[in-house]
């Protein structure tokens, strides 16, 4: 991990995790003691399809440097189809952010099952690293509230 490289920058990262797979995957990462940076803060949602693009934009508005959405693997959604909708919605949202010139690496979707503690941890490590490489969210910072 190259986190020591930039001690000044403590990114704010919001992770939306579905209750059934990814939140449990995060729990498994925890009980397996698979470390990932403390910059990641998890919000539990029932399903990835509960995540409204407004939540993600709101996180950026309030100063987040990265937002990641985790849900069950396609086909494994606890509610059958939730993540399919989430997948299309997020594809659309991310493409719009990219189109507007906001770095697309600041948003990510990853499917993490309840059994994938390792994947959860690696994903978070990777994502934090990515955000470090992108640095502070200057561009979206321009979109941010003044305080």
């Amino acid at each position: 991990m190259s986190i020591e490289a930039n001690e000044e920058f403590k990114p704010k990262i919001v992770a939306f995790c579905c209750n059934w797979c990814s939140y449990a995957g995060a729990d498994l990462a925890g009980s397996s003691r698979l470390a990932y940076p403390a910059d990641v803060k998890i919000i539990r949602v029932p399903c990835s399809c509960r995540v409204n693009p407004m939540f993600i934009l709101r996180a950026f508005e309030k100063g987040a440097d990265g937002v990641i959405l985790c849900g069950c693997h396609p086909g494994d959604c606890h509610y059958s189809t939730g993540n399919f909708y989430a997948r299309r919605r997020m594809t659309m949202l991310f493409s719009m952010l990219d189109y507007m010139g906001v770095e697309n690496g600041r948003t990510r979707v990853e499917w993490v099952s309840a059994a994938e503690g390792v994947k959860f941890s690696t994903t978070m490590n990777e994502f934090v690293q990515k955000i470090h490489s992108l640095g502070k969210n200057v561009r979206l910072g321009d979109l941010r509230c003044r305080n």
Binding site: G75, F84, R88, R89, M92, M96, Y99, R139
Partner: protein, 324 residues
Amino acid sequence: MQELIARAKELLADGTVARVLGWKAGDLPYNPEPAYFEKEEDFKDFVYNSFCGANLSKFMIEASKLEGKTLVCLKPCDTYSFNQLLSEHRVDRDKAYIVGVGCKGKLDIEKIKKQGIKGIKSISGAEISDEADTLTIDTIYGEKTCAFSDAMLERCHVCKGKEHKIYDEIIGESKETKDAERFAEVERIEAMSPEEKFAFFRKELSKCIRCNACRNVCPACSCRKCVFDSTKFDSSQKANVDSFEEKMFHIIRAFHVAGRCTDCGECSRVCPQGIPLHLFNRKFIKEIDELYGEYQAGETVVEKGPLTSYTFDDVEPGIVAERG
């Protein structure tokens, strides 16, 4: 136009319709307004010319609640919006008598004025019966001319075709006015570097005054109460001290109409600050076409749109980063 008026009067007289939704001449040569006509004598002001750009389909939401049928004049592109509204149960087909009116392209007075033409007294060449390619404009500073196509609304340059997608009868000839690629502008932006893209949108959106005209005119934005007007998201319908709200408003608006927007172009037509708002919606249309298969909202009445359906093998959101 006379045929249209005659037919409208006939349908009013025989009780088929209770009112007619069309356009009323304004007091300048270029400012007709949408209007209802209920009595024969009202028709003295009825007008249908190349300045009648407004898409009347959204008015049918309210008109559907009125007693009796409303005759509504829809241009070919407006019929897509009507179909979409039908799909969403926002209008009542039984309350509409749709007259598909001919269209040969609609004019944007701003584009005429941009050419330095001011003090306009009259404009000829804008009648629906006119065949001329040139508008002749009489101004207090003398007579000016302007090519019809140079004064056309942006949407007419990417015209979806002269076919009405839903109608009870058609009156008048239509002409396809397409002379540009629909996605050319979107592609131009896509080809920019992230810095250029950001600069482009920031500059354009910095003009936004949050008048909400784009939203209020949009047939897809048919919410009774917009999420930006409600307290549910702590979002504001008015200008905020920070600039993010404007961007959020436009991104979310585009997202909410994604898969439902027919690309009628009303948003760009009405923006008082000339923001090319269609570039947001058209980006989504392009993405939907490319990622989920060609889709034209409002082509027919459908139950599910691209964002309320899925396939198992849909691309992952990571595609956005991968294709760079």
